[in-house]
Every structure is written in C-alpha cells, then in structure tokens.
Symmetry: C2
Subunit: 126 residues, 2 copies
Amino acid sequence: MLTPEHMQQTVERYLTGINDGDMEAVVSLFANDALVEDPVGTEPKSGDEILKFYTKAFAGGAKVELTGPVRISAKAAAFPFRGEITRVDGPTIIVEVIDIFEFDEAGKVVKMTAHLGPTNITVKDG
Amino acid sequence: MLTPEHMQQTVERYLTGINDGDMEAVVSLFANDALVEDPVGTEPKSGDEILKFYTKAFAGGAKVELTGPVRISAKAAAFPFRGEITRVDGPTIIVEVIDIFEFDEAGKVVKMTAHLGPTNITVKDG
C-alpha cells in the first residue's frame, strides 16, 4: 500500500542519492515504465535515457536540499528544493525547483515533472 | 505572448484575491474552460463550480503567503505557499500547499492543480 511515509522517504532518498552522486540509487526509485519530464514542457525521457539524464545533469557534483515540506496527496508528492549544481567545464549554478513525483501502487515513481525556468537559475560567482 | 512576468503577476493576483476575499478576482484569472483539481487526485471542477469552490473554501477568511519563489517554466508556474484558513463554524487550519498553474496562450490559467494532504494540515489552537 502506498503511504505518506513511503512517499516522504522516497523524496529523501532521491535527494540523498543526488548528494551522494549515486545515480543508480536515484534511478532505482523509478518504475520500469517511468517518465521524466525535466523541465516541464520538454519531451519526457524514459528507459535508459533516465539514468543518462541524471548522470549527465549531476556529473560535476550537486548539493540539493528541501526548502519546505513535501506536499503529499493520495498518489503524489510535490516538493520545493534548492540545488547547487556544478557543471562539468562550467560554472556553479543555483536552481530553485519544484518536483512532482507521481507514484504507482508498488510505491515506485511513474512520473517525475520538474518545474523551473530561467528566472529560477542563478550563476554563482567564483 | 505568455511571459514569465505575466505568470508571476497572475500568482500574486491569485494570492491577493484570496487575502482580500475577492473570489471574483480569483476566478477572473482562469480561462472559461479551466479545470481546478484541488486537491490533486479528486475530480476536477469546471465552469460555475470553480467560483462556488473558492467561495466555500474561503468563506471564513484566509491569509495566504508565498513561502518560496514561483517556479516559472514555458507555460506553467508552480509555487509553494502557506495558508491560514478559518472555516465557517470550524477551527483555523494551517496548510502547506504547492499549486501548479498551467496557462493558455492568452495568459489565462487553464488548469490549477493543488498538492497537499493530511500531513500538510495543522489545526491551530484557540
């Protein structure tokens, strides 16, 4: 059964996985048929593209942290977070994001949607 | 053309409308064919049901405020907010919500989705 506790823990494991650079752990939270739409409005990624996407996005290292409570409804979790992401051969950027996780009955994430845009990105000096 | 500034202003007008108890102003932000899914996972409301929904939800008065930046992508805005809502004949409750607004090209909200659940609701003493 899908519980609020499980959804909260999945969000925490997701952020910990990113902070640890453990993209296998991140991708293990998704269902086999999951879709990742990041940012919202772009073509969703699926299958092997998901691990490639996370590996590329966070190859330079990242620190992510919640900036408010996870909003947990019957089958979804929405959470605000801040990321400090170092691009390979690029600057460090600060991003303010809201992710939505939709869950299946087995507790896996079947859809991730990331809300962010240019107004939510700051390039860090130094 | 749909701009980030317009989406930001729409979110601010929405929250101001709720704080002012002006549900006509709130509903004026929506397209004629808009859907309101609040909370996510329930049957979306449309047409005259939308004004009735807002009027009932906030009949006792409400104070809402952003708790972080509005995440603005190409055609959507996602924002975290806290509401202190007084129910008619009931207690005051504090709710932590993330709303998603999807926009049409005319700049009206065509879909509102509210993410919250029991873990995001606190009943206030007194």
